[in-house]
Assembly symmetry: C2
Homo-oligomer: 391 residues x 2
């Protein structure tokens, strides 16, 4: 890491079933981030969009939609970054590279997705495209089925994860109650999540409905700035202490899925770059697309040894009042998962957390945060360490 | 531009109607570029894929397919860049940023598209998605219709461009005769291209079939290296003297289409960065998706004043034996236009041209080349200046 780069503004639409178009969502989040950064649109040197699409909307040239936010964005370079469910973090990392490269001093990054206008089977099919298509055994799998395999393999290797899965679902729904931007504000007890019932059916055994993230519309944005590029004072900016990206082979047949090697490498590299350990973290926003993913991420983060992720729940570590709360926002599980927006949302909310503006989900005095955004079944793995700049 | 960056290897599948899958095409081009660069796969620090897709293939997570080329690419960061028909140049520019940022010393960039397995109406619809979808007047336009509007507006402002259009089509088909990688090896006389006939029907007046680029499968790749990162000697590398990207508003209603401001800005900025003028160029590979685009690009390049682009044809400048041959490869018109591959192909063939390995389309002693790749109707505009490193 060379010269410091900061988040200096954030934008975040409400997540949910929204009437706005993809363009509307992008423009709303972009404007809020620019206003929060107190920067003139003309001072933005480049824009990046995280957006999955995969047939969900007809917009085949979404990068340029960011320019719709302000006349002064005309002629700025605009690019779309796509890495399945990690498209948002991909855009953040591209923005960081543009600043480090010296080709930009201020960058606007927006992540957005429009999903709820499509039927659930359509969305499931679009998302399934992010699996490996050239192997007949894998091409037909939906992502609930993929993470059901993870849960099954976890059970065989380490023991039944269903208890941990239900705790995770219940925790994240509880957290979302305090996040007005979240898609779903509905408590779910551990007991509800643990049992198969009419209101919590099996989706792909052992995954119940309560183990799956939501189909959601939404957008999030951040302004990234080189040191001295913006007028923001230290109370209003957050340092990017590390940003690491590790990709793995797409076919599940070429790797040990439950080993979660890609996420572990990305997160551990990020700790090393930032010069911290897991114990320094004050919170983490991580990719709980399905509850087994959050469980495996606890282990990748080093919160617990392999196969013992449930400990981080049992000892209270990851709860809102614990030592390292995970997904205070409600996570993909309850905040929702508008695919391209998710990674940017993690950074936007981390920025608000570390500048004391996280409202109902504020963790007082937080100094270090982790954002972990994942594409596919541990294929594109992006870990960012955010640091408060108060000191 | 800080420290120099070089192209040190190239890969290029044949363009055409191919049996290979998207993955096969990506892997073939990637391996050829790595071999040509004489680099170990482990020395590649990051990979970038230019790929449009837009529903043409089910692969929803294409970035990781590059890793399929070599076991040693596992865990390298892989990203997909998408900017409609400029997705290839978008990937090149992202690769340059990664090197300039210091996060990579050697980068593998692949561009690929698989199109011919789909019907022409399907492909036309997928491409039309790259127009503006939130204006009913624009959302229904196909790209032949969009560039027909360009030709009509050009006619109203400057005079009938159909003569120039026919010359361009004929020239590019003639050039492709000497490029074994081209999709179509078929001479087309000026007379054939000029007249509407059974074999050259009107597609969108005044565009005839001969004014439209091809639906093509193919992939291209380059290795980009920081100075001193590779063992390549100067005869086998090409300097990136400039790489500029300018995006414009997507709605045509928000700009003067025929003014081609985005392309002009990108190309003129590239000249300035490289410290050259148009007269220094020895060749150019430019985005002739439709013949009026090539005509407008002559003017954006400064080969002729506004409205007088035909002069560059009349005085022979842009022909194979002229002062600045344009599209020696045959261009999108006859080499073909596998969307995500196109921008990378321009760089790969520019590399071969400037290292004396362009075979039948070699321009002896070439020192400077321009690659201009365009997304949409002058929306995403990427200009790169390539320089031989022989001196």
């Amino acid at each position: 890491m060379t010269a410091d780069i900061f988040i200096t503004g954030s934008g975040h639409t409400r997540f949910g079933r929204l009437d706005q178009s993809l363009e509307d969502l992008i423009v709303e989040a972009a404007r809020e981030a620019i206003e929060e950064a107190q920067i003139a649109p003309a001072e933005i040197d480049a824009v990046f969009l995280g957006h999955f699409n995969s047939g969900l909307v007809p917009d085949g040239f979404a990068s340029s939609l960011i320019l719709q936010a302000y006349p002064d964005l005309r002629f700025k370079p605009a690019s779309r970054c796509e890495n399945a469910c990690a498209s948002g973090a991909a855009a953040i990392h591209a923005g960081l590279n543009a600043i480090r490269a010296g080709s930009a001093r201020n960058v606007l990054v927006v992540g957005a997705e429009k999903m709820t206008h499509r039927s659930t089977p359509d969305v499931t099919k679009a998302l399934a495209g992010a699996g490996y298509q050239n192997d007949t055994a894998e091409a037909d799998l939906s992502f609930p089925q993929v993470f059901a395999i993870a849960a099954q393999q976890y059970a065989e290797r380490y023991g039944d994860p269903r208890d941990a899965m239900a705790r995770i679902a219940s925790k994240n729904h509880e957290n979302a109650m305090n996040n007005p931007l979240a898609h779903m504000h509905k408590r779910m007890t551990y007991e509800h999540c643990r049992e198969v019932s009419e209101s919590n059916p099996l989706i792909a055994p052992p995954l119940r409905l309560s183990d799956c993230s939501l189909i959601t519309d939404g957008a999030a944005a951040v302004v990234l700035s080189a040191d001295n590029a913006s007028a923001s004072d230290a109370d209003a900016r957050v340092r990017i202490a590390a940003a690491e990206h590790v990709s793995d082979f797409l076919p599940m047949s070429r790797r040990d899925f439950v080993a979660f090697e890609g996420p572990e490498r990305a997160i551990r590299m990020a700790y090393e770059t930032a010069g911290i350990t897991v114990d320094d973290l004050d919170f983490a926003e991580v990719h709980d697309c399905f509850t087994p993913a959050e469980l495996l991420i606890y282990e990748a983060m080093g919160l617990a040894p392999k196969g013992e992720g449930v400990r981080a729940l049992e000892d209270g570590t990851v709860y809102a009042d614990g030592r390292i709360p995970v997904n205070l926002s409600g996570g993909l599980k309850a905040k929702g998962h508008p695919v391209g927006a998710t990674g940017v949302s993690m950074h936007a909310l981390g920025f608000r957390q570390l500048t004391g503006r996280a409202g109902g989900i504020q963790r007082p005095g937080a100094e270090w945060g982790l954002a972990f955004n994942m594409g596919g079944a541990a294929v594109a793995n992006y870990a960012t360490i955010l640091q408060a700049d108060r000191i």
